[in-house]
């Protein structure tokens, strides 16, 4: 995932790389997502996530567009 200072820099990067634009989130949205995604990562009991658990994290973070649809689980 790539950091940018503005929308303009994202457009320049996509044009230079000849790539379509993906999903863009604010730093605050990603901080919220990070806390949901990583808060239990150091726990002995963390064994990864299945599809349903990943979908629930995205839902809690407000990420519900097709971009976040799942093919298979695990992280």
């Amino acid at each position: 995932m790539l950091l940018f200072q503005s929308e303009e820099w994202i457009d320049k990067w996509c044009k230079r790389k000849d790539l379509e634009r993906g999903e863009v989130l604010t730093i605050h949205q990603v901080w919220d997502l990070s806390q949901l995604w990583y808060q239990d990562r150091l726990s002995m009991d963390y064994h990864g996530r299945n599809i349903e658990q990943v979908a629930e994290v995205f839902k809690q973070a407000g990420l519900t567009s097709a971009f976040w649809y799942l093919r298979e689980g695990l992280d």
Partner: protein, 149 residues
């Protein structure tokens, strides 16, 4: 590999080692810690790689990433708990203070302008800064090419 109890103990050891030292344990260190042979430790590393618990450098037993931690220097530096960590990407630079549950000062490079920016996590709040994070690939393709992702 069938000893899942040991498997997840190794996963936890790798993450604990990253948190405590900022870098991953070698397979030799892991074998010594658990008092097992190198061959068994290597098999456990490969199994955890296959399960996406962490990711090895191709054709090696060197841990490249245990998200959010990076085993190699990157453009995403996280100062936390008196240590300097490297994150795999712009998301993971926030994932490190989230995983460690601590304040942090983060220095990162804008992908296109190449300017270094700094932000902070204080008491669970991120400093007000108008940065954006671009996810180039949809979730379903994240594991096609992890380094690009």
């Amino acid at each position: 590999m069938t000893n899942d109890s040991l498997l997840w103990q190794v996963r936890a050891f790798v993450y604990s080692h990253f948190a405590d030292t900022t870098h991953p344990p070698s397979v030799e260190e892991t074998a010594k810690h658990f008092n097992i042979g190198l061959e068994e430790a290597g098999a456990l590393y490969r199994e955890l790689h296959n399960r996406h618990a962490f990711f090895l450098e191709p054709e090696t037993l060197t841990i490249r990433m245990a998200n959010p931690f990076s085993g190699v220097p990157t453009d995403f530096t996280v100062h936390a708990n008196g240590r300097i960590y490297y994150a795999n990407c712009a998301w993971d630079m926030l994932g490190i203070p989230a995983a460690l549950r601590t304040d942090a000062v983060i220095e990162a490079v804008c992908t296109e302008s190449n300017e270094t920016v700094q932000l902070e996590i204080n008491n669970g709040q991120i400093t007000d800064y108008d940065l954006l994070i671009h996810f180039p690939l949809p979730f379903a393709r994240w594991y096609d090419d992890l380094v690009f992702t």
